[in-house]
Symmetry: C2
Subunit: 291 residues, 2 copies
C-alpha cells in the first residue's frame, strides 16, 4: 500500500518553484507577485491566508496581504479589485472566501480579471478548463491531478467515482479526470447527496475521490480491494483528549480503508498541503504567461 | 413504451415562442433578431443554417444570414464579428461550424460577445453553466433537458450513463443532469473511447444518452429493461435503396432497444429537431435579458 504523501509532494513542488524563482532573480527580472484579499477576522480564513503568504515568502515570490475590515462595503471591495486588476506588477490574486454576508460573492468573483484569477474560480477559467483550453485550474483538483501523476497512478480506462459535486472540488475533478490530459481518460461517475446505492458505486470503483465533508463516511466495506483512495475531506471533530480540543478527520475511515487500498491520501498531509503548492504553481504560470 | 417525440415537442416550443413574439409585436416593440454567419459552401452547413433562418421566420424573429466566401480571411471574419458584437439591434448570433481550415475556430469563438453567444460555446457561458449561474446552454444538451422535462422522465437519484465526451453534447449534458436544475440530480457517469466494459455500465443505467457518432452501437443486450434512451447520433449511412442514396442512423439499434426501453428518442425526429427550437429559445432569452 502506497501512502500518497501530499506533504512531501507539496514540499518537492515548492523546491522546484524556488529553483525557478532563483533563476528569475539571477536574470535580474521582476519576481512573481501574489496578493491575497481578506475581509473580516474569520479565524480559519486568517490561518489559510497566513499560510499562503508564508509559502510565497518561502519560494521567493513577492506577496501582499490586503486586510480589510469586516464592515467593508461591496463597493469598496470592488474598487480594490479594480486596482488589483490594473496593477501590472501583480501576477495573480485571490479573494479569500467566505466573504461577509452583506457582500455578493458572485459579483466579486466576476469582477476578478480572469488572467489574474489564480484560484481558477472565475467562470471564464472554469469554462476554459472544461473545454480543454489553457486555463487556471482550481488548486484542490489541480493538486489531486498532480499527486496522481507523481505517484504514477494509472487512470486511463479506470472507473473513478467522485463523491460530492461542489464547484471547487467535485465538479472540476470529475471533469479533469475524464478529459484527455494528465491523470485523465478515466470513466468518471459523479455521485452526490441524491445518489442512491452509493456503496454499490464505490465498491466497483478503481479510484474513489471523497469530497463530501462527512467525517469517516467511506468505510472498508464500501471499497474494492486494491482501489486508490483520495480523501479531500477536512472536518474538525471535537476531541477533549487533544490539546486543541479537536482533531481533523477526512471523509475516509482511514485505518480500515488503508488496509484494503493500493494507494491512499492521509488526512492531514494528503490533498490539503497540495492546495497551496498548486496556488503557487498557478501564480508562476500567470507570471510566465505575462512574459 | 413512450416515444420521446422531438419533432412534436420542438413544434410545441416554436408555437410558444410565436405567441411570445406576437405579444412583443402587439406592444410595438423591436423584434428578437438572430444572425447566422456561414463561411464557405459546405452542403450540410448550408442546410443547417437555412433551416435555422426559416425557423426564425416561422416564429416571427428577424433574421440575417451572412454568407462569406470560402476564401474569407480570419481578419475579415473577426472584423465581421466585431460588427455583430457592436450591433445593438442584434440579440444573438451563431457562427456555423466547421470553419475553413485556414481560420482558427478557437480564436473566432473567443471573439464572440458572450451575451450574444446563443450557441453557448464561449468558455464564459460554458463556465457559467457549469457553476450554475444564468447562462446560454448549448442547444443540443438544452434540448435533451427540455425533452426529459416535458415527458416527465424522473432523473433525480437515477443513474445516467452518457456515452461520448464532446464539448457540445457529452460534456455539457453530463454536467447539467448531475446539477440541481431541471432534469437534474442524476448520478451521471461519463463514458468515452477509453472506457472499458461499456456494456456493463449501460446495462445498469436508468438513462442512457448516446452521443458517440457510431451508427446502431447500442444494442438491446446493452440496456436494462425499462431504461430511458436518448439518441444524439446522426450518421449518414449509404443506402442504394433510398432515393437520397443514404439513410440517417442514430447511435442506437432502435427497433430492438425500443422494445426493452420505457422511453426512447427516435432518429430522425428525436433530439435533432429540438436543437433549433432551443436556439430560438436562447435568442428569446438574449432578447429578454437586454430588456
Amino acid at each position: 500500500m502506497t501512502i500518497l504523501d501530499g506533504k512531501k509532494t507539496a514540499q518537492d513542488l515548492k523546491e522546484e518553484i524556488k529553483v525557478a524563482v532563483s533563476e528569475i532573480k539571477k536574470n535580474g527580472k521582476r519576481l512573481p507577485h501574489l496578493a491575497a484579499v481578506l475581509v473580516g477576522d474569520d479565524g480559519a480564513s486568517l490561518t489559510y491566508v497566513g499560510s499562503k503568504v508564508r509559502s510565497c515568502d518561502y519560494v521567493g515570490f513577492d506577496s501582499t496581504l490586503i486586510k480589510l475590515d469586516e464592515s467593508t462595503t461591496e463597493e469598496t471591495l470592488l474598487k480594490k479589485i479594480d486596482e488589483l486588476n490594473q496593477d501590472d506588477q501583480l501576477d495573480g490574486y485571490i479573494v479569500q472566501l467566505p466573504l461577509p454576508k452583506h457582500i455578493d460573492e458572485e459579483k466579486i468573483l466576476l469582477a476578478i480579471d480572469p488572467t489574474k484569477d489564480v484560484d481558477g474560480f472565475h467562470p471564464s477559467n472554469f469554462g476554459r478548463m472544461a473545454l480543454e483550453m489553457d486555463a487556471f485550474i482550481p488548486a484542490t483538483p489541480f493538486g489531486i491531478i498532480e499527486l496522481l501523476e507523481r505517484y504514477d497512478i494509472e487512470t486511463s480506462g479506470k472507473h473513478c467515482v467522485v463523491v460530492g459535486r461542489s464547484h471547487i472540488v467535485g465538479r472540476p475533478i470529475s471533469i479533469l479526470m475524464s478529459q484527455k490530459g494528465p491523470a485523465g481518460n478515466a470513466t468518471v461517475t459523479l455521485a452526490h447527496s441524491r445518489t442512491q446505492n452509493l456503496a454499490e458505486l464505490t465498491k466497483n470503483a478503481d479510484i474513489v475521490v471523497m469530497a463530501l465533508g462527512i467525517p469517516e463516511y467511506l468505510t472498508a466495506e464500501m471499497v474494492k480491494e486494491g482501489a486508490t483512495i483520495i480523501d479531500v475531506g477536512i472536518t474538525r471533530v471535537a476531541d477533549v483528549n487533544h490539546p486543541k480540543g479537536y482533531v481533523i478527520k477526512g471523509d475516509v475511515a482511514y485505518d480500515e480503508v488503508a488496509q484494503k487500498s493500493s494507494a491512499i491520501t492521509p488526512v492531514p498531509g494528503g490533498v490539503g498541503p497540495m492546495t497551496i503548492a498548486m496556488l503557487l504553481k498557478n501564480t508562476l504560470f500567470a507570471y510566465q504567461r505575462k512574459g
